[in-house]
Subunit: 276 residues, 2 copies
């Protein structure tokens, strides 16, 4: 692990680090906020997965999570959203595919399957590095995210309900296998067999039997992606049919930006802390 | 006034606007956060002046001021730090002079005196626009800032103690007329007559008789600019000699970044709210 930067913030330490990712075949950057309580022993880990076009930095700059995380004693880990580097194939004309748009899955189609393996990076590689280098209690992990990262959080929680004790999302893509802005990426990363897409789609995972105890989802009513890309009612229907406890809050007047996320950040941190 | 963007945040509205500045001879951008209380009547106005290299955006992204401002009912206005545009003269090799480094004064030396008139922009032009377009109570104004913007806040408060009821600063440049990173700018903006520099220097203003009721200043001990650029002990001495109530807090381990500012933002907002 390499140090990029560290600074004291809200009594803890906001760090940025990088590691060589065997899964992605490239150096990967990530942010870790260590609360002051970590000086006295391991703290629970809350993973934040970011949305399309983002890096680890957007939420670090604009998420406003440090104050409450310091009060609650939560470690916040913020991975990147895709592999990076000149050697990584990309589609530079498309912000919904390639760099900045890894969709938290392991691609199976060439040439993307060489580097676009964000699921293995986040579920296997990064936890090992976090466990080795930080005072982290990995028996207490939660996960949340925004938009594409909400999709990542929901699907990872549904795939690993024993690992993650809590899950929430801001304006998640709940059914990426049919949403305008993600179906193209699914086809290129995973191929044309739509059966394989179901394993990376929150609503399909639930239909196919995956379960999780409870989700908190906030969604702004002024979000320009609401009707075509996000469609939280699909998650609502899937959870109702599967008897999953979903708290879906439609937030009047809020858009898709970090102005929305930061407004409800404390609520989400409280949600996770209660379960960790 | 032109709308650049608006978004709901913490129950209020974070907006970015621009206006034609006669003082600066260019379009000037500024940010305004309107708390939810403004829907019921005019609210007090707190001005935030940013540091070297910044625009209105740095504190808007990283300052973490909206939650508490919404609780306290404070309007937060964040001007830019210099004139902008291709027609504005600059020294692109120097981050401590020219664009991003207006030092909150009206330049008197050519060619800088054509555009670098940030004092008039912030003290005369912007308040008129704020009064016209927002539910602002200009009988209740406070001012704070960071680094070069701390210099701006302290000097504006000392020059206008009847206008500003409260003043605070994060890691301010307290004696810019002698600090390494500002003396060059003072000479180019104001000419070689150092007497004129005293009117834009907090410690010199105090020595020359200016007074203000009370200041709150936070300063990180791990700030790499502490010894050469900031030197809060000079303000401490000036305030002591003038019987000005200075609360100077040395904050262990904090640097010069927004990690420091955001940590103590709530304390400063509380300080201002008590006095507004």
């Amino acid at each position: 692990m390499n140090l990029v930067s560290e600074a004291k913030a809200h009594g803890g330490t906001q760090g940025v680090y990088s590691m060589h990712s065997a899964a992605c075949g490239t150096e990967m950057t990530f942010a870790v906020y260590m609360p002051p309580q970590a000086a006295n022993g391991p703290c629970p880990v809350l993973w934040y997965l970011s949305g399309l076009t983002c890096t680890h930095q957007n939420v670090m700059d604009k998420g406003e999570y440090r104050k409450r995380a310091a009060e609650l004693g939560l470690i916040i880990v913020c991975p990147d959203t895709s592999p990076r580097g000149d050697m990584v194939p990309d589609d530079v004309t498309n912000w919904k595919f390639g760099k900045g748009a890894g969709f938290y899955l392991d691609a199976t189609e060439a040439p993307w399957n060489e580097n676009y393996r964000m699921q293995t990076h986040i579920l296997a590689e990064l936890p090992a590095v976090i466990e080795q280098h930080f005072a982290a209690d990995l028996s207490r992990q939660g996960i949340f995210g925004h938009s594409m990262g909400g999709h990542g959080a929901l699907t990872f929680a549904l795939k690993h309900p024993d690992r993650f004790k809590s899950c929430s999302a801001f304006a998640p893509i709940v059914q990426p296998s049919t949403a305008d802005w993600s179906v193209g990426a699914f086809e290129r990363y995973l191929g044309k067999d739509e059966e394989s897409w179901r394993r990376h789609d929150a609503t399909r995972l639930i239909e196919d039997g995956a379960r999780f105890d409870a989700f908190l989802v906030d969604q702004g009513t002024a979000d320009s992606f609401l009707d075509d890309g996000l469609r939280p009612w699909l998650l609502e229907a899937a959870c109702a049919a599967a008897d999953i406890d979903l708290t879906l809050r439609m937030q009047e007047g809020y858009d898709h930006s970090y102005n929305f996320i930061s407004t409800f950040m404390d609520d989400h941190l409280d949600w996770h802390a209660e379960r960790l």
